[in-house]
């Protein structure tokens, strides 16, 4: 019985312990960031655009935690906490602004505010 348990534990730790490099995590982070950039540039709904900025924050968070684990200290994780703080503050303000803008124009289209270009 205990042999079986040992075998299961070993198999599990092998599955968990593949040779992952930093590159794997950084590639996920870069891809997530890029998808966020594409969404921010091409979507027209203002709420979705802000959602895409949140996605970019998220990607940066993955990269920071990867570096933090690579260098065996916690500064990267602490920085992710500050990124989360700024993301929360930003979303509160941005969403309040979006609601105000929507009340004025009855549309969420970012292009309808293009006269701000001057």
């Amino acid at each position: 019985m205990s042999h079986l348990l040992d075998a299961i534990m070993l198999a599990q730790s092998n599955v968990l312990a593949g040779p992952l490099t930093m590159y794997h995590y950084l590639l996920v982070s870069a891809a997530l960031f890029t998808i966020g950039v594409i969404g921010f540039l091409s979507r027209r709904n203002m709420i979705i655009m802000f959602l895409c900025t949140e996605m970019m924050f998220q990607a940066v968070g993955i990269a920071l935690i990867t570096f933090s684990k690579f260098h065996l200290n916690h500064t990267g994780e602490v920085f992710v906490i500050f990124v989360l703080t700024i993301a929360a503050a930003e979303s509160a303000l941005a969403l309040a602004l979006v609601v105000l803008l929507f009340k004025r124009r009855e549309t969420l289209d970012a292009a309808s505010w293009s006269l701000l270009k001057g």
Binding site: Y25, T34, I38, N73, I86, S91, E106
Partner: protein, 390 residues
């Protein structure tokens, strides 16, 4: 591939060696891109994935959205499958959970930007958050994983959902099924995708200049000298092992000074000889007295110790491996001890954001001159009444 502990695998080798080789900065001798994934394949897959995203962006008329999503998903999938097969080819099973969660994160991120309905986009974003929290868990960043779920999926995304529902026109009977123009079409999808994929290609090739290994064993470890900052934790752990029945209890400050970071040892002074003998004979607590690399068998060390024990005698206690600083403790220490000023500033920023949101959300009431005068009169009356009463 020299300079990495990948070839032997960290499961079998001594985790401490791995941690040491992980601390070393990535050198040009570290893994290059060719050793991880074929660059040509990566390039082709990224371009195809970009085409797929461009097809999948919402548009009016003939919509090959499903096709585009499939192409993009397949292209990104191929990259990760190849990454996994490469890893398997080196004689180790790939880290399955990483590939699963990375694919879920990227796939749902793709749906966030391609789904025409904002509510669904927000829900897919929650899926992205959850799967990247799982990636944090794989990296042994437990505190951040759960903080992410609570803050992002729990708080920020709910705000988003509220605003999405507040800021949509109530559908009339005739156009109940019709989406608004700005949701159904996208703005310059080709240019946006070209920009994005250009960025991704550049990033994915630049990031591969000598990347280091992250083994789960090393990721679970923290910086070895961090334990010296937690004397109370060491005292607590030793207390659980009933060490202070036999030894004098040092103050946390003394313990922190006496703690040997490299060898994880701390000298303690014997107070009660019989209790010390009992500790030495107990198989569980006797581990504390046996160090590694002294060249003696544990029995020899123990018998040598038990002969020379007398009150006032200092005995070296070796802290076992399982006494280590947990992730939450490490993050808390780095946050409070390392960045107290930034923490205060973050609080101020949150306060300012709250004030700003209140100012923005407050209803602006325009009062005419007449109404203002009436208001002032009423106020004056109230003050008079209050003064008369007193």
């Amino acid at each position: 591939m020299t300079g990495c502990c990948s070839d032997t695998g960290c499961v079998s080798s001594d985790p401490r060696e791995c941690a040491v080789s992980n601390v070393a900065p990535p050198t040009p001798e570290g893994r290059l891109l060719e050793q991880i994934v074929n660059p040509v394949l990566l390039f082709v897959c990224l371009v195809v994935g970009g085409l797929g995203i461009a097809l999948a962006m919402p548009r009016r008329g003939l919509s090959p959205q499903v096709l585009g999503a499939l192409v993009a998903g397949l292209a990104f999938g191929v990259v990760f499958v190849v990454l996994g097969i490469r890893a398997a080819g080196e004689g180790q099973l790939p880290n399955l959970f990483f590939y699963i969660f990375a694919l879920i994160a990227l796939g749902s991120a793709l749906r966030v930007i391609t789904h025409p309905k904002p509510v669904y986009s927000a829900l897919y974003f929650i899926l992205t958050i959850l799967s990247s929290a799982s990636l944090f868990l794989l990296l042994h960043a437990e505190f951040m994983a759960f903080a992410l779920i609570i803050i992002y999926a729990g708080a920020i995304l709910i705000t988003y959902l509220f605003v999405i529902m507040l800021a949509t026109q109530a559908p009339t009977e005739s156009q109940a099924e019709q989406m608004s123009e700005y949701d159904a079409t996208s703005r310059e999808p080709i240019v946006a995708v070209a920009t994005g994929i250009g960025l991704l290609i550049m990033l994915s090739f630049m990031l591969a200049r000598g990347v280091g290994e992250i083994s789960p064993n090393a990721a679970a470890r923290t910086s070895p000298d961090l334990l010296a900052e937690f004397p109370r934790k060491i005292l607590r752990e030793l207390d659980q092992r009933r060490v202070f029945d036999a030894f004098e209890r040092p103050t946390p400050t003394d313990l922190a000074e006496a703690f040997d970071v490299q060898r994880r040892t701390v000298p303690l002074v014997v107070e009660d000889v019989e209790a010390t003998q009992a500790l030495l004979e107990d198989p569980i607590s006797s581990v504390l007295f046996v160090g590694e690399g002294s060249g003696q068998t544990p029995e020899e060390t123990l018998s040598q110790l038990s002969q020379g024990i007398e009150p006032g005698f200092a005995v070296t206690i070796h802290l076992p491996e399982e006494i280590r600083v947990s992730n939450a403790e490490g993050v808390g220490h780095a946050l409070i001890a390392g960045h107290p000023m930034a923490l205060e500033l973050a609080g101020i920023i949150l306060l300012m954001a709250m004030l700003g949101a209140v100012v923005l959300a407050r209803k602006q009431i325009e009062l005419s001159e007449e109404e203002k005068r009436a208001q002032a009169h009423r106020l004056g009356d109230t003050i008079d009444a209050a003064g008369g009463g007193a």
